[in-house]
Amino acid sequence: MSAVVQTRRRGNAGLLRFLIRRSPLGLALVTLFFLSAVFGPHFAPHSMTDTNLAMALQGPSAEHWLGTDPLGRDVFSRLLGASRVAGQAFLIVVLIGGIAGTALGLFAGGRGGLIDLVVSRVVEILQGFPTILVAIVIVALLNPSLTNAMVAVGLAAIPDFARVSRSVAIQLRDREFIQAARGLGAGEMRILWSEVLPNMAGPLVVIASFDGAQAVLWEASLSFLGLGVQPPDPSFGSMLREAQNYLAIQPSLAIIVGLAVSGFILGMNLLGDALGDYFEQAR
């Protein structure tokens, strides 16, 4: 069945070509971000945490490309570390929200009836929780850390995934290919998993890109408030907090972090839109 393999490869190349054409900036920004999240810390030219007060608050130089922070640490290296943290935040939120939300929505929409009613109410309640309060409670009960803060954000992402997967499941529930699977003797769980779920890939990827971008923003906010990543570890939020006292002396500190975060969010949104278009036309 070499034909099967061949056409599949063409399918993924088609997506890539579409994204390059539709949103080169988004693709470039997001690729840059994830490359630095995965490989950045390996290639960081300096330590991210070792302080050197003699070198504090320097401007860009050949040695320190983006200068140094108030404790003399290399800003470029810390930025690479922060992108790793943001990547982790992205992953945790998309995994928690994506798996739990998709499962709930798929089940609710696919089975309907009482199950749908109960799940929908639970999702609505979840949606009512203010993320920041949930984060504070979780961090208060456990302790401030990236994972704990992101669990709160992940919980908040569940309703988004649940809503999308539920509506797709409802649209598909009475389609003839579902009936055909039933007629072949497929069980209801198999139908949800193997007939309905693959048809959600598009909308779910789009939601994941937006909620993942939100997660990076939340990570920055919660770490800024001291609820997430703790010093001396770098993160966009903790770097911003350290930068704010030196705004007048070295404004580039805050501006660099701000640009990095905004660039990523912009890229992710552009890419999300392009992905949405792609799946719309591929229907």
């Binding site: 034909a3 007629g183 007939e195």
Partner: protein, 346 residues
Amino acid sequence: MSAPLVTVKNLKKTFPVRESVFRRATRELRAVDDVSFAVSRGETLGLVGESGCGKSTLARCVARLTEPSDGSILFDGQEIARLSTRELRPMRRNIQLVFQDPMSSLNPRKRVGTILREALSIQGLVSGRARQDARIAELLEQVGLSPTFAGRLPRELSGGQRQRIGIARALALEPRLIVADEPVSALDVSVQAQILNLLKDLQEQLGLTMLFISHDLGVVRHVSDRVGVMYLGKLVELAPADAFYEAPLHPYSRALLASVPLPDPAARGRAVRPIEGDMPSPIYPPAGCRFHTRCPIAQEICSRTEPPLTDHGNGRLAACHFASPFASARETERAAPQPSQAKMGD
């Protein structure tokens, strides 16, 4: 002749309907109302009727995609009307459906090969990749496609090709009964004949029994040994195809036939809209004979007493107080063109 493969007796399927948002379901929509018929082995029974008369609901009951509200369905002597989902599983391979809409009957995310492979593996009928591959190629060839189609996605196929895949999937389990619910009505007229011929050929080759549903009398004629006519959930006539097309007994059948100029292929794709007046709601079916509100030869008795489906000899059954192979003067009069009253079909 041996016992029929399928015997449907007093089959009913009702759906609860809410009359307003504020009330609970109070009335019943009788989609299929007390229908009985049998299909012999190797036979094709064609079922016709206007949109909404309950054809698909009947098909779904027979294929047990839905549970009948009442009545019995014997498949090869076994009662299947009330089997549970689990009990149905082994039965499923005997009865397979071919669907109307080739756009929605194939999962858009799956390649043809995967769709067929799943049909083979769901019930563990053919295991082992090599044997499945061989069977997939065989199935594709059976429906007139080359094995390279296994690598295609549904959206890369034409409507006719998709319907062929739908048929191949139905054949994968080597069923004995095929229930085809409007298998060609979504296709171009030129493609319709190809698919009909394919179904006919397969039926002969594989000795299949077929319940063939269509709103198109021309299409039904092409494949059926016998023809059943449904109106508002009821079977109103059942007869051998030749006799039926020659001289139907029921005034509704006559009206249906009169409205379809069979030799004209352009008219065949059209939904049947035989007679003026809309079909009454199946929630509030007329008393007596359900057709009396639109019947050109209705008498007083028709609004009071419901005529049973009775035997008129030579295997011809009709449910009409005035069943006759001859059209009355009043019917022929009505059939003449009346421009002012002409109703546009959909």
